[in-house]
């Protein structure tokens, strides 16, 4: 039986256990339910859980361990001369074809099997007819091993089915046997529920661990091929070709131009978004009537809900060409030439469009923080005769400053991690330049570039994406942690 039908059987057993448990506990007290410690449903759930949980746990363990054991057994069964005369990569290729042949052998009928037994050359075309593609013509020993492999797999599956169902039945019988009115069924069921809740909250930690593990394991591979200092201090990004003076190198992976591009574009975005967002927040918190506030605030927040791919497209087809044409006409006015000095894909285009995206982040966060400043400070300042703008500049903003700074850090981390806008609007040229009218590229663009297309996880060209990823993760994490720290510390002041 395969795993999904086995699961269905277990579920059915659990349902039976639920009904049985209810019925039996009701019967033991002859319908006087108040004699039971818990309500009927809990007795049912207790039996169902005892049936289902241990069996499923065993099933999971089995399903994760069995393939490894079979794989080891299979590589142990390879012919001796193959074991000695092949590299690891070749051996894994051979194992892969054996697995494909094994899948194929399950699909074919007796006649075709005989054909293959007569001549191995028949193997490839016959399997092809059943949709199993072999990279190379099969060998006799492969067919034998594949047959054996199918045999093993069938055996383990059978044993697995029997063992799991036995465990489920044992759980069912044992829990039914222990049912009695004084059994604290509810407490036991609730303990399991608590365990499930705890497990769910562990997923957040597991995700972080997964992120860090994935990055570190691949990054270590990468640094095995490219030295650390070349990555962190290199100023040339050229992953494809070896440098002329260093023919052994697998390309140049200088992080500096990417980091510079990332920070430059984020800076332009912040230069645009911070004043606009901050002044919007101030106006909405201090001057706007409730009516204006209740229409303008959600409208600005629409900007945050628009997918970034839409901003990228907007930058590519509207903003970029607009800047290019504008600069071309300006140039025409000044010098009489129509050469544009702003390119369609440029730091400016990407920065401005990203800035638009960031406006609602700045304004919402600062709005919350400004309105959190206590009334007494504002009233005191106004009562002393200060105008509203003076109150804002001299009293409220300084009081809100740590919070605003925290908000800006969070926004900056978003700007650094943003992908789709820069993929479409910033270009792919990795270079160091101070001119905002030229294209530059960012860390995120290069991660996408290195990993779209076919990827083998053996070349530095793809592994570098993980090194870039861990750099990005570290930078944004540091910004976030610092921002959260500042915001938290600030909030405590007025609580």
């Amino acid at each position: 039986m395969n795993i999904s039908s086995l699961l269905l059987v277990l579920l059915a057993l659990a349902v039976i256990g639920y009904a049985w448990g209810r019925k039996k506990s009701s019967a033991t007290v002859q319908g006087h339910l108040s004699k039971l410690h818990s309500r009927l449903g809990y007795y049912g759930s207790y039996v169902a859980l005892a049936t289902f949980l241990p069996a499923v746990i065993v099933l999971m363990l089995w399903a994760s361990v069995a393939p490894t054991i079979i794989n080891n057994k299979l590589s142990g069964a390879l012919p001796e001369e193959l074991k000695q005369n092949t590299s690891d990569a070749e051996r894994s290729l051979i194992l892969n074809s054996i697995y494909s042949i094994a899948t194929g052998l399950d699909l074919i009928n007796e006649d075709e099997k005989n054909l293959i037994n007569q001549d191995v050359a028949n193997l490839q075309p016959i399997l092809q007819q059943h949709g199993v593609v072999l990279a190379s013509p099969g060998q006799t020993y492969m067919v034998d091993l594949a047959t054996e492999l199918n045999h093993w797999e069938k055996n383990t599956r059978n044993v697995q089915t029997v063992v799991v169902i036995l465990i489920a039945l044992a759980g069912l019988i044992a829990s039914i046997a222990t049912l009695k009115p004084s059994l604290r069924a509810r407490n036991r069921v609730e303990l399991v529920m608590l365990g499930a809740l705890l497990l769910a909250s562990m997923i957040a930690i597991l995700t972080t661990v997964g992120i860090v593990l994935s990055m570190i394991s691949e990054t270590i591979h990468f640094f095995g091929m490219v030295p650390l200092h070349e990555f962190f201090f290199g100023t040339v990004w050229d992953p494809r070709f070896a440098a002329a003076d260093n023919p052994d190198a697998v390309g140049q992976y200088g992080l500096i131009p990417l980091l510079a591009g990332t920070l430059y574009i984020a800076l332009v975005a912040m230069l645009f978004a911070v004043p606009v967002g901050l002044y919007s927040a101030i106006y909405m918190a201090e001057y706007a009537t409730p009516k204006v506030r209740s229409t303008v605030k959600p409208l600005l927040e629409v900007l945050a809900g628009i997918p970034t791919i839409v901003y990228g497209f907007f930058a590519m087809v509207t903003v970029g060409p607009f800047f290019r044409d504008l600069s071309s006409s300006l140039n025409n006015l000044a010098t009489g030439e129509v050469m544009p000095f702003i390119q369609a894909q440029s730091v400016l285009t990407a920065g401005i469009v990203m800035g638009i995206m960031l406006i609602p982040f700045v304004s919402s966060l600062s709005d919350d923080i400004i309105t959190a400043v206590p009334r007494s400070l504002r009233d005191g300042s106004l009562g002393l005769g200060a105008t509203r703008s003076e109150t804002m500049r001299k009293v409220i903003l300084p009081a809100a400053l740590p919070g605003v700074v925290g908000a800006l850090l969070l926004t900056a981390s978003r700007a650094i991690g943003e992908t789709m806008i820069v993929v479409l609007a910033a270009g792919v040229a990795a270079r160091l330049s101070l001119n905002p009218f030229e294209p530059m590229t960012t860390v995120t663009v290069k991660i996408v570039n290195q990993l779209t297309g076919d990827n083998e996880f053996t070349s530095p060209q793809t592994l570098v994406a993980f090194a870039l990823g861990i750099t990005l993760f570290t930078v944004t994490l540091a910004l976030n942690v610092y921002a959260l720290y500042i915001v938290r510390k600030y909030r405590e002041q007025y609580d």
């Binding site: 809740l197 769910a200 909250s201 930690i205 992120i211 001057y287 978003r414």
Partner: protein, 434 residues
């Protein structure tokens, strides 16, 4: 006395000072209005830019032809009864070409004009006519009136996206063809009709037969997976953290973690998905299952944060009352607190789903940029997603693809709008004052 003289002098100074201060006040207010206008203007510009470029994508130029399904072309050797494949491989485009040539009155030997006629028809006519014949083989030998797709270039001319003032040799539509188009338009044979194709076709290299069906189904699968996984896990995690966890180092760690995960760049989740689901677990690339799992991990923090604030909003009196009547803590949470927090959880979930629907970057990394022409039938089939389809179309050079891209963006924004409005309505409807 000096004291009598100074007040007036002081008053004067104060007066100019006051003016200056009021001017500053005015300027400050103006900056605020300006800032808000800048934001709103850009919002309007963005929407206008997409809508003005995209609304035409919902119309497509089609040509009404009297097509003769002649047996000599479709099934010359009368083999269809034994071998149905004959009907699949027949030369259908020639039927449409002949019909158009006949309508325009072009001689069968006029190779140059015939070629121009052919280029006015979409390559999609092949599938269209083939499906007609396969569905109902009895139409072979009859003449049917069919609306067939015009080619992308003809479509662009009809929609006025081409400047016809460019020199004839430098544009794909020749003067002769333009005059035919004008003649057919006048006679009502060629016109723009509602474009159902954009909703039912998969990916295609030709704009007129490119649609978002594969992407929509892929996105739908992913949303389902996110909903089925992220909602229960997220709610369970929040219940534990909010109701059961004792404040200690460990729960603090989980909390800081969730806050940080909400701010991790989305592309990092793509790297995680690539490594964990494709590299380690060996799931297929480009599958909506993997996309759904990655988006689940991304959406979890959003749902957890929303659920926790919904749980927090349920007043302690409800909890104490439940406990006072003898409910266990678990019963209190599941029978009393959770139902009251449900509207808040739902709004949070919808907002999380909307975020996941618009996400592109992590999906690029797990190979969802594949060219998928067939609508996926299971979550393990190669699929693509709406935003990824938009990204792929955005990189196509043809003018007609800009229109498609904008059209797809409008559809995506439409979905997001529906989801957000639902969230707002839910919030309004179930808003409760304690």
């Amino acid at each position: 006395m000096t004291t009598t003289a100074t007040p007036s002098a002081k008053h004067k100074i104060n007066d100019s000072n006051l003016k200056r201060r009021y001017a500053a006040e005015f300027r400050f207010k103006l900056y605020g209005i300006l800032a808000i206008s800048v934001g709103l203007i850009f919002l309007a510009l963005l929407l206008w830019s997409v809508i003005s470029k995209g609304y035409t994508a919902f119309q497509q130029t089609e040509i009404k032809l009297d097509i003769e399904f002649s047996k000599s072309v479709i099934d010359p050797d009368d083999l269809a009864a034994e071998d149905p494949d004959v009907l699949l491989t027949a030369n259908y485009p020639i039927l449409a070409k002949d019909a158009l040539a006949k309508y325009l009155g072009i001689d069968k030997k006029d190779k140059i004009n015939l070629k121009m006629v052919n280029s006015m028809l979409s390559a999609g006519t092949r599938t269209q006519l083939r499906n007609m014949v396969v569905e109902d083989p009895s139409i072979i030998g009859t003449t049917q009136t069919v609306w067939v797709l015009a080619s992308g270039n003809v479509d662009s001319v009809v929609k006025g996206q081409f400047s016809l003032e460019i020199d004839e040799s430098r544009r794909p539509v020749k003067d002769q063809q333009v005059s035919w188009i004008q003649r057919m338009q006048k006679e009502g044979v060629l016109k723009k009709r509602f474009n159902t194709g954009i909703f039912i076709f998969g990916a295609s290299s030709r704009p007129e037969t490119a649609g978002i069906a594969a992407a929509m189904v892929g996105s739908l699968y992913m949303m389902l997976i996110v909903l089925v996984l992220a909602l229960p896990i997220g709610v369970a995690a929040s219940i534990y953290l909010e109701e059961f966890a004792t404040k200690n180092r460990f729960t603090d760690l989980i909390e800081v973690n969730i806050n940080n995960l909400a701010a991790v760049p989305s592309i990092v989740f793509g790297l995680l998905g690539l490594w964990a689901f494709i590299n380690v677990a060996g799931l297929p690339r480009s599958a909506s299952l993997v996309g759904g799992l990655v988006l689940t991990l991304m959406t979890l923090p959003t749902i957890i944060i929303a659920t926790r604030s919904a749980l927090k909003a349920v007043p302690p009196s409800i909890r104490t009352a439940a406990l006072g009547l003898g409910a266990s803590k678990m019963q209190m949470v599941f029978h009393h607190v959770l139902p009251l927090a449900a509207p808040g959880i739902m709004t949070g979930t919808i907002i999380g789903l909307a975020q996941a629907l618009g996400e592109t970057a992590p999906l690029l990394l797990i190979g969802m940029v594949a060219f998928v022409a067939d609508v996926p039938t299971t979550p393990l089939d190669p699929a693509t997603a709406l935003p990824v389809q938009i990204f792929m179309w955005a990189n196509e050079a043809e003018r007609a693809f800009v229109e498609r891209t904008s059209g797809a963006i409008l559809i995506l924004l439409g979905f997001l709008l529906i989801m957000n409005i639902t969230a707002v309505i839910l919030r309004k409807r179930f808003e409760r004052r304690w």
